[in-house]
Symmetry: C2
Subunit: 455 residues, 2 copies
């Protein structure tokens, strides 16, 4: 057990390494078992419902467990936004030239494997055909066929959009390679129950044929590093080369990134080195618009494509599962209890600080909370207004709740705060309480979070 | 013509009012005409294509002009992200209790007006039915009907999701009113060509029956203020009450927010005071879960709903149109030329600063640019790597291009920078050049942008 205590003096001295240390190194001894254990899995999923990461309901929980889009509650939405924000920062903030694009999720025109896609239909159109009594069976079949063929296609991935957008982007970078097009968005895939929605985060990277294999390795390393940055148990994220016999479509190489869930390994992200044939196919007859002069010999070539496609919904489930720690402890009556702590990375935690009130004149304490809440909100720090809870829950119970929500710190405003300006701040990761002046808490939190970013 | 010059000394003194002043008050004399002028409209739309806000192609431009989702290019995506970010900040950063949620864009279960929705179909399923030769015409019609009925519905708005999510959120706030659920996302609507996608930003506000009309007015004021905050010509945004005879569904009152495009007024956002019947309908038989004690008389009531729904795609078009200014000027040969400046609000501008190189040793200057680029990226300032342009375009031409992109400042690194650390910074809004030390530019930009935020 780490007994290190975050004092303000020490904080200023060595904050850079502390925050990540505290967060990752206090993970205790008992993590979730990696072998299948349906009770544990139920506990895990129920906690995400109880703490408003996802909406209740058996179907919704099942969608989430499958790694598809589901109804996210307030905490789940914030976590999702934080994860997507980190993804965009890592993509567009890097040295590499990466541009974001945004394309519709349906398209009216034909794509390569048109009949594999789900389609948007106007049921009334088909019903109108079915109601035309004068049509023969053959005419009816033909009309329904035509109606389906003219309906819009829903995308199964965001990759297609980047290829279609290639030409203007290529002009934008003055036909210089390498560069990338990033997009995040909902895709529609078939599932055993019909259709399923998935939030994809995709980078399509354009480079020379000669360097494409190196770039594939580069991006696989980057992506694995990115997932592990946010993990308490980084080794649960792993990558492996796709065997030759499992390569898809035109791909010459592939790398997959997996997460080791309690119920087994599942795919988070896949990277393919795809060559130039898809780009040539989509921009038929426009070869000149795709070409760039190779520096060595002056021969004109077409860029090669490396695709990096992650499933953000399953990523959320992986990050949540990875963060949940179970501590066994004995309560006052010597009964074994489980303390659950959701140790989400400081950058990802949906709530950074909860404000509660202790003993004292409620009205006045609430006013202090309101003021602090506004100050923290203005500094873009996500706050939980714990002081609004009507039920007089004991502090220990509230702390358990905040630990399960992944709240980094709990600040308690009491009588003492009104007199001396001091409040008590409890850390999720150490469970240790510290006294701090109310005017210091904003800077303390800002520095704590940005220190975790720089690890 | 404003001849005010941003010196660093003055900047420190009165930065708070300057940035917005410069941005809004230097809009010159000739704005786009508000009467229909198809040439002007073409100019406007072509500029958004040329400057990578939207992808080229007649269909895509038409989708954008209609206010539906289209293919956004790199600058359009950044603008879209900035607008959505501002929307979320204004919703969740306010004093009001607003939680974000995220729901799938399709649902398997029936909704109120199920047959009005577009549906996701698996064309193979219908084709399989059509291919069953043994089926009679009647059996065939029946089977296709059933297949359509069981297919997932695509949402036409995000309002439904918030109503479905009401119960857990109500528990979260301890059954205290008022509170709101915010969501942004793609919706699918019918259009004359089949289906159209629209990005909605929606707040569903739950309050007591007694206060619902006041809240409707409150949110209408807030929303109009929000749009106008980013406008150069705020009066182009307007609101008006919906006449009694145009009220939709259960709404007892409605307010619409419009933008006055060169081709006429179009709807940006609509607010309805909707009563409690939809909430009761969706949660049939669960009245007890919807009730809250009215403070005055202790009688139990069901919350009333106020919905605020904006079209972000049309909002982008409105903000872009509003920002585009045409200055007439004579060139060296005394020919009348048009200077186009896209005066996007500093918070919304997709690129805050472009880095260019002047006279000097290219390799060394580029190294300086690379360093500065990284420094600015780390401070989350969006930079344009103008120094990568291969063609030796005259500076004046580059400035015109950056003005059309809405780039706030252009910094030129030259010989002089290597010697003295000084570089030239040109403002989009004043077209005035200032000399600044390279170590000051980051702070200058940060303060300029945050000053515009606080206006």
């Amino acid at each position: 057990m780490l007994t290190y205590f975050v004092t303000k003096v020490r904080l200023r001295r060595a904050l850079k390494c502390q925050s990540a240390n505290i967060w990752r190194h206090t993970r205790g001894h008992s993590t979730l078992p990696t072998n299948q254990d349906s009770d544990q899995v139920r506990t895990l999923l129920q906690l995400f419902v109880d703490r408003h990461f996802i909406s209740p309901g058996e179907i919704n929980v099942e969608l989430f467990k499958r790694g598809t889009s589901c109804c996210y509650g307030p905490l789940g939405l914030k976590l999702r936004r934080n994860v997507l924000h980190q993804w965009w920062s890592s993509m567009t903030g890097s040295r590499a030239q990466v541009f974001g694009i945004n394309t519709p999720s349906s398209s009216g025109y034909a794509v390569m494997d048109g009949w594999g896609h789900l389609r948007i239909t106007e049921p009334d159109d088909i019903k109108n055909i079915l109601n035309q009594k004068e049509l023969s069976k053959e005419q009816l079949i033909h009309s329904v066929h035509m109606c389906l063929q003219n309906s819009a296609l829903l995308r199964t991935n965001v990759f297609q959009g980047a290829l279609e957008h290639f030409v203007p982007s290529f002009e934008l970078v003055n036909r210089k390679l390498p560069f990338g097009l990033a997009e995040t968005g909902r895709c529609f895939q078939r599932s055993k129950d019909g259709s399923a929605e998935v939030t994809q985060a995709s980078l399509v990277w354009f480079c020379s044929a000669r360097t494409s294999s190196q770039w594939l390795d580069h991006w696989a390393r980057q992506r694995l590093k990115w997932w592990r940055k946010f993990a308490i148990a980084p080794s649960d994220f792993s990558s492996s080369d796709v065997p030759q016999e499992e390569l898809e479509g035109p791909a010459s190489r592939g790398i997959k990134i997996f997460y080791n869930f309690p119920w087994g390994q599942e795919l988070l992200e896949v990277l393919w080195s795809r060559g130039d044939c898809e780009l040539l196919h989509i921009h038929k007859g426009m070869r000149s618009k795709l070409q760039f002069p190779q520096s060595r010999n002056g021969r004109k070539s077409v860029p090669h494509v490396v695709s990096i496609t992650g499933n953000i919904d399953r990523g959320l489930l992986a990050l949540l599962s990875n963060s949940l720690l179970l501590h066994k402890k004995e309560d006052a009556k010597q009964q074994l209890q489980q303390r659950k702590v959701l140790k989400l990375h400081p950058l990802l935690a949906p709530v950074k600080v909860a404000l509660g009130i202790g003993r004292g004149a409620t009205t006045e304490l609430r006013q202090v909370c309101e003021g602090l809440l506004q100050e923290l909100k203005e500094a873009k720090i996500s706050v939980w207004p714990g002081y609004l809870e009507t039920t007089s829950t004991p502090m220990e119970q509230l702390n358990s709740k905040y630990d399960e929500m992944g709240v980094l710190f709990t600040a308690v405003i009491s009588d003492n705060t009104l007199e001396s300006g001091l409040l008590q701040v409890r850390s999720r990761d150490t469970a240790i309480k510290e006294t701090m002046h109310i005017s210091d808490i904003k800077n303390f939190l800002c520095r704590y979070i940005s220190a975790a970013d720089n690890m």
